[in-house]
Amino acid sequence: MSVSVTDLEELARRCRIEIVKMVYRAQAGHPGGSLSEIDLMAALYSASLRTRPDEPDWDDRDRFILSKGHASPGMYALLAEMGFIQHEDLHSYRVLGGICQGHVDMKWCPGVDFSAGSLGMGLSFGMGCALAARLDGSKRRAFVMLGDGEIQEGSIWEAAMAAAHHELGNLKVILDRNRIQNDDFCQQQMRMFDIPAKWKAFGWNVKEIDGHNMEEIIEGIQFLDDSNEGPSILIAHTVKGKGVSYMEDNPSFHGAAPNDEQYALAMKELGAIE
């Protein structure tokens, strides 16, 4: 990998600023899960994902499926940084006619491979992309970003079983284990016990990392790149709302916008203003 840890951290910081700006402007949206996923996605797009920003529908691109589609501000910020869309497009988030729909949508936004919004669907869709790649004899891969609350959906486990059955080595999952879902902490809503053991038992290759430590993230992505015997999952332990003090580990900011005062504080903490 040729990208530096410092560059990736800086990329993620710029995305965090845009995430908070988007949610603040819209006075709606999901900052918490966008801030928890962004270090992982910044590294994946920079270090591994084979795409062409100037040709977003390139047939042989790797697919990236944001299954936790509410965390769209993170994806839009990154798509703007990578050149799929313009920074001005970020102003269209949740605005009538805008390409940045509330949940990521393949019919609206270049660089989006799946129309998400209903949890538990992206893994199955990614499995279809991986099967198609194999039938085509292509080396392209399907990456799927799942939320931890999301794996409470039963169909996730239909897909987990099926992907292992079909030995889809080109299917790679990142689990954003931020421990919070809409109403409360996952621990309160639905205990999930030993998550790595569950995926291992379903026949997956499993690795755990700190999802905010860029060196560990790079190692984790390398693990996904190198694991080609059966499907693989990188379980990334993250902090919901990471980077904005009052959002961190706070269930209230799963799906809520900051007020004026909170916005100013976030911009200061993220280094957007002196």
Binding site: M106, G120, S124, A132, E158, A159
Partner: protein
């Protein structure tokens, strides 16, 4: 002697004929022997995806493959497609991915498996989805031809087939007369128009024979496409006959009868009698017993036609 066949066999045959197109793939949820996709699986195992007993996953695997340029045909029992309705809605119809879903064993005609297996609402629910074509052919020949046409469509579809055999109507037909979105006028009369789909098309023809003995000349239409509905044909027969009967092995709520009622209420206001399952569940019974119990068989269509004529 009329040949008897089940529409699901027409589906299986069509998949085999479609196999020369290497983009066609088949997805199964452990019911390929029943839906008849098994013939494709035997010949082309590398293009057949077993999804186990997992319909929700199957629909979205198909969506992922469609987004990558494949033409997926996924099948299970009509009733079990319904547990993946939201996957069909959000993952297939909304992004307009050309996934072709076939629900076999639809309707009470399915018989002795009982009410848990008798889908009487599938046509209604899929008809509500934007982008989705909804089909319910009446014999194996039209099922085969319509399935092959679906492979050329750039939109998703739902097609209901039936488990049990019914009379074959189209053995000698010019294939071009069977087109998605075009109802087929099987009998032409001026007194009442019977618009039917699926297993009730042959019952409608029997009803027309009986009506003829009473001096009533009935039009009979095979409306194999529920959506998009052939409203031009409905308008023509409404103008000519002045009264209409719909007949389907499906709830009277929301299916063919519902679709025709929606159209007529917004156009000519022609009287309409709906033959269908009267907002109730079925039970175990032979196919012919079920059509009797649910008041779907030809004598009930005759009575509905007489009521419809009185309302002119």
């Amino acid at each position: 002697m009329t040949r008897m066949a089940a529409t699901r066999d027409g589906y299986g045959q069509a998949l085999l004929e479609l196999a020369e197109n290497k983009r066609v793939v088949v997805l199964e949820a452990d019911l390929g022997k029943s839906t008849k996709s098994l013939h494709f699986r035997k010949e082309h195992p590398e293009r057949t995806i077993s999804c186990g007993i997992g319909e929700q996953n199957m629909l979205l695997v198909a969506a992922g493959m469609a987004s990558s340029g494949y033409i997926p045909f996924a099948s299970t029992f009509a009733i079990f497609t319904e547990r993946a309705f939201e996957q069909m809605r959000n993952g297939v119809a909304r992004p307009n991915l050309a996934v072709h879903l076939c629900g076999s064993h639809g309707g009470t005609h399915t018989g002795t498996d009982g009410s848990s297996a008798q889908s009487i609402e599938d046509l209604a629910i899929y008809r509500t989805l934007p982008n989705v074509t909804v089909l319910h052919p009446c014999d194996d020949v039209s099922t085969r031809l319509l399935t092959k046409q679906l492979a050329k469509s750039d939109k998703p579809s739902y097609m209901r087939t039936a488990r049990n055999k019914t009379p074959v109507l189209y053995d000698d037909v010019d294939e071009h007369t069977i087109q998605i979105g075009k109802g087929i006028e099987l009998r032409k009369g001026n007194d009442v128009a019977i618009i039917a789909c699926g297993v009730l098309v042959s019952e409608a023809l029997k009803a027309a024979d009986e009506l003829g003995k009473k001096g009533i000349q009935a039009t009979v239409i095979d409306m194999h496409t529920i959506k998009p509905l052939d409203t031009d044909l409905i308008d023509r027969v409404a103008a000519r006959c002045g009264t209409i009967v719909t007949a389907e092995d499906h709830s009277v709520i929301g299916g063919l009868g519902g679709a025709v009622a929606e159209h007529l209420s917004a156009s000519s206001g022609t009287p309409l009698e709906r033959v269908g399952v009267k907002d109730r569940f079925g039970e175990s019974g032979q196919a012919n017993e079920m059509l009797e119990l649910m008041e779907l068989s030809s004598p009930h269509i005759v009575k509905a036609a007489q009521r419809a004529i009185q309302r002119k």
